[in-house]
Symmetry: C2
Subunit: 399 residues, 2 copies
Amino acid sequence: MITFPDAYQKVMDNFQNYGEEKVALKDAIGRVLAEDIFADRNFPPFNRATKDGIAINFEVFNQGQKVFKIQDVLAAGMPPIPLKDTTNCIEIMTGAMVPFNIDTVIMYEDLEIDNGLATIVKPPKKGQDIHIEGSDQKKGDLILPKSIKISAAEIGILATVGRSEVLVKKLPKTTIISTGNELVDVIETPLPHQIRKSNIYTLDAALSQEGIRPRHMHLLDDRGVIKKELKQALLLNDVLLLSGGVSMGKYDYIPEVLEELGVQKIFHKVLQRPGKPFWFGRQKETKTLIFSFPGNPASTFANYQVYFQDWLQKSLGLPVSKFNVFLNDAFAAKGDLTLLIRVKLSFDKGNMLASLVKENGSGDLTSLSLTDGFVILSPRESGYNKGDLVPFVPTRNII
Amino acid sequence: MITFPDAYQKVMDNFQNYGEEKVALKDAIGRVLAEDIFADRNFPPFNRATKDGIAINFEVFNQGQKVFKIQDVLAAGMPPIPLKDTTNCIEIMTGAMVPFNIDTVIMYEDLEIDNGLATIVKPPKKGQDIHIEGSDQKKGDLILPKSIKISAAEIGILATVGRSEVLVKKLPKTTIISTGNELVDVIETPLPHQIRKSNIYTLDAALSQEGIRPRHMHLLDDRGVIKKELKQALLLNDVLLLSGGVSMGKYDYIPEVLEELGVQKIFHKVLQRPGKPFWFGRQKETKTLIFSFPGNPASTFANYQVYFQDWLQKSLGLPVSKFNVFLNDAFAAKGDLTLLIRVKLSFDKGNMLASLVKENGSGDLTSLSLTDGFVILSPRESGYNKGDLVPFVPTRNII
């Protein structure tokens, strides 16, 4: 038996780098950028009109001229047309490239236009309403550093600099394995002593939100079959996520079979609730990591969120940060177990409050739908009080 | 010109219900549940052993018997075998169905087993380590109410009750339309006065995270083409998201063309920065809603996040809630514009702090990658101070 902090540390110490791959821009959302992105030109790439109106040489206005003859109309997407005579103006549209001998834009709202002549009714400031070339970024500037998660904002930036393909971190090849003769498929009607598979669906959904498309496997409680299937799975996967088959039962062959297949046990059983019989190991040759979670839904879910998610973040080169929330209820935490407690989060005047979710032991799946995440309560003789700050692990997108 | 709160209210008043559709369980993640889900059996569905060990009739132990003959072994997935003689015990595995004349489970750790006999070394409590049938949920209980967003936890629950297909809210059929002759494709090298499309990629990525797979369209600044294409788009879509073409420019045909096509303008221009030239309307016959955002990236992004996201939430029947964060910087907010200010969020002892992101006007896309969301600052003569609580709109998954 190992303490929760030790188990967590051992999992994190086994982070892996799975390398990089090119993906199309549209598939890059949610992935981790694996290359620095530089500006391919100045931004803005030219002196850019930011209003619709006219563009003038300010010096002419400054010397007293208020009425300007409109020489040309310049829209966004048109090559710039310089003033042939600096006492003229150009009618210019937002997004257009400002010609070289022009330095000031005056919006329609500050003009009267009549018969090809624009009269300025509100005095401009020199340089107004022009977004100057390179004022945001210079060509060659670093605009996106590697090791960030690509959100919609980054997709737009990557498009701007012409990245139709992007180098991102590879995701681990993963298989989810359910075990147990009592499990039937979701489409079947279980006999009285049977239940439907649920953990593989939960894990599949959670992984899909990380961009991982896992394979599925179900193992019956048959030693020979388990060994054959696991041997193959070790060769094909970076990660195996198992659910069930790791407690003390007569038919819980998984740990011994894994060890026979050259998987080194890193730990088995953690001083925590739920999820105590968690088995974690590594195959030396294939470098496959095995997260073998106990079979009940709340245990698998808690262990996935608390261990696997952080391990994945670190393996992808993302920072792993925990933040604290205020407990909204008191809680006893005597003994030697670290408690992973289901909570609902609420926001009160800028504070995050975690209220305990009523639950009924580790088999109670339905309470997970009321849960925003887990708070991690280390053992503490005096217990926890309302208002205590405790670490929080989210289990759904909250904000 | 309309105030920000009025504009927001008008958008929200135009929420739509797009009905329901059945999807496969694996495709339900992130969707909004459109039916109440009830327990199809008791949960647990039988008295379920929660430890590996032996199962006994407690009364026999209570009368002084400490050594029990092992009659049978009962694993998860096996039909239950009752005690033929209540002075016997059954060796039982986690997840197995406890037979009717048994009421207590004793784990291996509290036993000595030798030669088919189990000796109890630690006195049990009556009923221990049995998860009683129906103690979590009774058959027919509501276990998931409609109008919740389906996360990994709900996927597991749906699988448990045998839902291989789920009724979810339909998503609006959406087309993203970029406009402007200055735009070239991401794979092209722009001429000096051109820029690459980026807004459609940003919007596409943001929508994809809501499960919406929009179509794309690009309109050149040609009145005839714009009218023909928009007419078709109105027939085929619930929502059009336009970027560009709604300011005061000579070639900004969109608003007048839309009105010619029977689209009722609900408002044009909002007292806000960025994103002031936002145009919003509705076609009466097709009920298509048109969100026409100004073309610069930060404006489109802000308007999408602030208006469209909340409109979508409400249209899907989800609660729309804003929460407040603490400003970590002071900010001036004179005048009549509501400011949508880019901020980076940090967590400090359970508090959420919003620090202003350095930006350089609404054309500065790259600052969006430093941004976690917008704070909404209503006009206020005295400005905002560090520590003020202000509403926050996230623009990426933060927790």
